[in-house]
């Protein structure tokens, strides 16, 4: 079985055969991979010992190892095919939806529809966890639509602002 695994933007081709042998980019690797609980694993490789926590969330993998968090994707051949057809995600053009990262109260919206904004500019001040949290734009753009009003309570993932 061939997988393409992308960890912190580095791509690895990993083959796992029926007999359990494993190759990384064509090079064989001896790996002792043991499950300690559903997300905790012990890996022994070349006598080196790693304790790793692995979790999957919405198709993204998180690997916590030696105090560091690695994130990435594991794609089998079918998933790779789909991904190439869909084109790359997260492009610099098109619409960007700013959603509430947590439930809270809209304290202020310091922008107006049609306004040009620069990357890092504050779009919404969301009051949550007793803090005024400034939600900023991930890139330059124009505020196309504001879907909430100051004083409004919002749930997590509620669409707040659409940028073009």
């Amino acid at each position: 079985m061939r997988y393409v695994t992308i960890i912190n933007d580095t791509r690895f081709e990993i083959d796992i055969e029926k007999d359990g042998t494993l190759k990384v980019n064509g090079e064989p690797r001896e790996v002792d991979f043991l499950a300690l609980d559903p997300s905790l694993y012990s890996i022994l490789m070349n006598h080196r010992s790693y304790e790793v926590v692995i979790e999957e969330r919405e198709g993204k993998y998180e690997v916590q190892m030696q105090g560091k968090l690695y994130t990435g994707q594991v794609l089998d051949e079918r998933a790779q095919l789909l991904a190439t057809r869909r084109g790359s995600l997260g492009a610099e053009s098109g619409e960007v939806s700013i959603k509430a990262p947590m439930p809270g109260l809209i304290a202020a919206i310091p922008v107006t529809e049609g306004q040009e904004v620069k990357k890092g500019q504050t779009l919404v001040i969301l009051e949550s966890m007793k803090m005024q949290n400034e939600l900023k734009t991930p890139r330059d753009g124009i505020v196309q639509r504001i879907s909430v009003q100051p004083g409004q309570s919002v749930e997590q993932n509620k669409l707040l602002i659409t940028l073009t």
Partner: protein, 507 residues
């Protein structure tokens, strides 16, 4: 005069999270029964699990539960508690609460209401300590209108701080560089203060640049003893929220410790203080110090003082509230160890420290020599948006500062929290920064001279590959397990053999 001693048999903790757990632990050790209170959002919280009794006090919003005096007092009555510990935040610095507790014939494990009142009103506090020769930072009284504040701001001179009159913990606090920024800063500060404390009053204070935040722990009993337990260095802050505290401070020499300590004791005595409290100061580059405020409660960062002095401050608080003599009666001038605390917050350091909510899916706590964790969470616990984002405190100590830092690094590496974003990477990077290691920083260090990328060591090719192998085997294994369950007729071995294999991988 000998003050009468009082028995405490059952303590209600008017708080939640790690501090409630901390107080419960002290009570347990003293053989005192404990009562937790909880909102709808906290039924599954650790403090409810650890307490002997738990009483529901209302909806998640603090204003309808943890800030409601009548509900807390009613819970005390229903449970038969004879004393209340307020923790920090919430009602801990409200003199009307302390007074109401006393009026109900209960013991308040904290200072007398009039000491809270004097120190809680920033203007009265400044006048009180100025009268005994304690230096203060130039500023205004609270409660002024915006137009009055605009006028006085010009006289004090920028940069200037806007602070909440009822404040603490950085809420309702803003630094203002010039007159143009003042109107917005006032509006935001008033809004934050209103939502955090139910009181939108603010005041101004001159901002002393390049200053360190250094505070002194005070302990006073009803037998006339008032002492200090040395300093805590709290300059590592972001938006006036402390992130790392240590004791002693790398900036404080024995002479400064003695002088500041004497000042702190005088300030506490000036308001008739009893129980544990903290004198917060700004110290400039030339070691001039200014009184900022007194926190009339236990601090979040009290554990570093506990480790340096060998005292249990919550037990001392209870001793004092019982009318007994506190165990130390001399100022503490010689630190036994070096202690450091990292506040572990559910905040994403890679995204402007945005708070993160959700369920903690995995929690592995560090242990071993020189490590203490005060936590309010567990694996499976859900962090809600109703309360602040601090989920645990990691405290490490060693013979000296380098050993404390090396232990902290090791402990941070052992710490795994999955399911929510957290600031452990921030602490790891901070402990790699040369300025921090050298002890050269002020209270603007994190905001102005620290970046998450400068000290982040890039992952090695080998580690990336190991992580990739781990993620791939994880996926492969889960897929194989799923297929084995589905395609049972395609098994190449007997059902019995297969079952034992299945159990082996599911152990």
């Amino acid at each position: 005069m000998e003050t009468s001693q009082t028995q405490i048999k059952k303590v209600l903790i008017a708080n939640r999270g790690e501090i409630a757990v901390r107080v419960i632990r002290a009570c347990r050790e003293l053989g005192i029964a404990t009562v937790a209170v909880y909102s709808d959002a906290d039924r599954t919280s650790l403090h409810v699990r650890y307490a002997d009794e738990a009483i529901h006090i209302g909806p998640p919003s603090p204003r309808e539960s943890y800030l409601k005096i009548e509900k807390i007092l009613d819970a005390a009555k229903r449970s038969g508690a004879d004393a209340i510990h307020p923790g920090y935040g919430f009602l801990s610095e409200r003199e009307d609460f302390a007074q109401a507790v006393l009026d109900d014939g209960l013991i308040f494990i904290g200072p007398p209401p009039d000491a809270i009142a004097k120190m809680g009103d920033k203007q009265v506090a400044r006048e009180t300590v100025k009268a005994v020769g304690v230096p203060v930072v130039p500023g205004t009284e609270p409660g002024l209108r915006d137009d009055e504040l605009f006028a006085i701001a010009g006289q004090i001179g920028f940069p200037i701080m806007v602070k909440a009159a009822a404040g603490g913990g950085g809420k309702g606090m803003r630094a203002v560089q010039n007159a143009e920024e003042l109107p917005d800063a006032l509006a935001i500060a008033r809004r934050e203060a209103e939502s955090a404390f139910g009181d939108g009053h603010v005041y101004l204070e001159k901002l002393i640049e390049g200053a360190r935040h250094i505070e002194f722990q005070i302990l006073a009993d009803t037998h006339g003893n008032t002492i200090h337990l040395g300093e805590r260095e709290c300059s590592i802050q972001r938006r006036h929220q402390k992130l790392v505290e240590e004791s002693p401070s790398p900036f404080v020499d024995p002479d400064l410790r003695r002088r500041m300590g004497e000042m702190a004791v005088r300030a506490a005595q000036a308001c008739g203080y009893v129980n544990a409290g903290t004198i917060e100061c700004l110290v400039d580059k030339d070691k001039n110090f200014y009184f900022l405020e007194m926190n009339t409660r236990l601090q979040v960062e009290h554990p570093v003082t506990e480790l340096v002095t060998g005292l249990d401050l919550v037990k001392e608080q209870i001793r004092i509230a019982r009318g007994r003599r506190m165990s130390p009666t001399e100022n503490f001038l010689t630190p036994k160890v070096w202690a450091m605390e990292c506040r572990i917050n559910a905040e994403d350091p890679y995204n402007n420290f945005l708070p993160s909510v959700g369920t903690i899916s995995t929690l592995l706590l560090p242990t071993g020599p020189g490590v203490r964790v005060d936590s309010g969470v567990y694996s499976g616990f859900t962090i809600t948006p109703y309360y602040d984002s601090m989920i645990a405190k990691l405290i490490c100590w060693g013979d000296d500062r380098p050993e404390a830092m090396l232990r902290m690094r090791r402990a941070l590496e052992e710490f795994s929290i999955m399911g929510v974003k957290h600031n452990i990477p921030f602490h790891q990077n901070l402990l790699n920064s040369f300025s921090f290691i050298a002890g050269k920083f002020d209270n603007k260090f994190v905001e102005e001279r620290f970046s998450m990328t400068t000290y982040e060591q890039p992952a090695s090719e080998e580690d990336l590959e190991t992580a990739a192998i781990a993620a791939t085997l994880f996926t492969h294994r889960n897929r194989q397990l799923a297929m084995q369950v589905v395609k049972s007729n395609e098994r190449d071995t007997s059902n019995w053999k297969w079952l034992s294999r299945w159990e082996r991988v599911h152990r």
